[in-house]
Symmetry: C2
Subunit: 249 residues, 2 copies
């Protein structure tokens, strides 16, 4: 039997143990020596198998604690929720809502500035060459840990005189302010992709090596089909799950 | 000025050139020497800047051709399309349709088997402990290159006597067969996340080092709220973009 097949068998066995719940988050896997004995394989084969599980984000390895099943509590994001009428008492932003639902504590840092946005934003906002945008950049925390970023861009011409262009949080949400300005979003287009983070993201989000990010970009259009908002979220892939529910017509 | 800031400035400058279209896919970037001269920085700074762009999937570096803007033609996936009534003449599967739309040639290899599925599939299909599933595993190609995989699971009890459990392609699609069996899918739940590929995926999909995959998992429910299908797609992140369009109610 080729070695590649052998280590994959060991990995597959361990994977089953984790998915079945026999090993829970925080539990230690057997030591390398124990795995060598149990599967009658070499240390190298065991290490290759464990490497697979690390790659898949199922376990972490530390010199002190050995191999441990990773804490998997991805935050469930419901991009559809933002479009539904919210109960009067629920004015919080979708992120804060989702985090609180799970009994965790949300917080954020927000920074507002006026910029000439990158081409991929400017073209989506249909800005003219010299047109500016307001960007509200948020770094969000869960239980005090950096969790994701969300940068929302608005055409300066549209929001320059509103709260959106001023520093600080808007309690009722920027979407509500857009609505008051006569630009209620009636349609959104969500694009989702993934990539490796750049160094600024790795630092800002305190990412572990080898963690990809999901990029989730929403363009909101008003009743005149004018794009009024582009929101870009960068979501560390080990901590987020995006869910859509659709009914057939 | 700290070096980290300096190389980020150079990276940002190159990024702008690519996004603006001044450098198109397949174009070579200036050489390291040219960049050192243009930006008045060290070779090390240039290399750090180029490393950023490689990480972001914007360029590839080869010893022979230097740094080249990456061919970026991600396939646009519309998960909502499958739920809409299809025109009579359009019986092809969503993937084949999307690929043909772009003037590219789709093909696939399909393998049908009966399995005891992994826990994460079995629980979503609400299978009893010893219940089996039919899995239709597809490796899909675009212009002859491996592109993504799609594994669809069905409860054996439901589809055992149908075409779904037999080898080979189903021209009108497995969803149509489910419908004929009295299990039309009226609601789906789509979960989207990302991770690094495992070695089997890297090999099967011929992935470049450092390319994450998007996992897109759809559970389909019939009118009785019974899960009748779980489809798992593994999509190399550099080649796919998932898009949802939503209207506010």
């Amino acid at each position: 039997m080729a070695r590649s097949t052998l280590y994959q068998l060991v990995a597959s066995d361990l994977r089953r143990t984790i998915y079945s719940g026999a090993l829970a988050p925080g539990d230690q896997l057997p030591t390398e020596a124990e795995l060598m004995h149990a599967h009658q394989v070499s240390r190298n084969t065991v290490r290759l198998a464990l490497g697979e599980l690390v790659n898949e984000g199922l376990v972490t390895r530390t010199p002190r604690r050995g191999t441990v099943v990773r804490e998997r509590r991805p935050l469930l994001m419901h991009p559809q929720r933002e479009l539904r009428p919210q109960p009067q008492e629920e004015t919080r932003e979708a992120f804060a809502w989702a985090v609180s639902q799970e009994g965790r504590v949300p917080s954020q840092e927000i920074e507002v500035s006026i910029v000439r946005p990158a081409e991929e934003i400017a073209s989506r906002l249909e800005l003219a060459d010299d047109e500016l945008a307001v960007v509200r950049r948020r770094l969000r925390f869960v239980d005090g840990q950096p969790y994701n970023t969300n940068d929302s861009y608005f055409p300066l011409a549209l929001v320059g005189d509103s709260e959106i262009a001023r520093p600080g949080d808007i309690e009722r949400g920027a979407n509500k302010v857009l609505e008051e300005l006569g630009h209620r979003q009636v349609r959104v287009v969500d694009d989702i992709w993934a990539r490796m983070p750049n160094s600024a993201e790795t630092e800002r989000l305190q990412l572990q090596l080898g963690t990809p990010v999901i990029v989730y970009l929403r363009v909101g259009y008003d009743e005149d089909h004018t794009p009024v908002r582009v929101a870009v979220s960068v979501l560390p892939a080990d901590k987020h799950l995006i869910r859509y529910e659709l009914e057939s017509r």
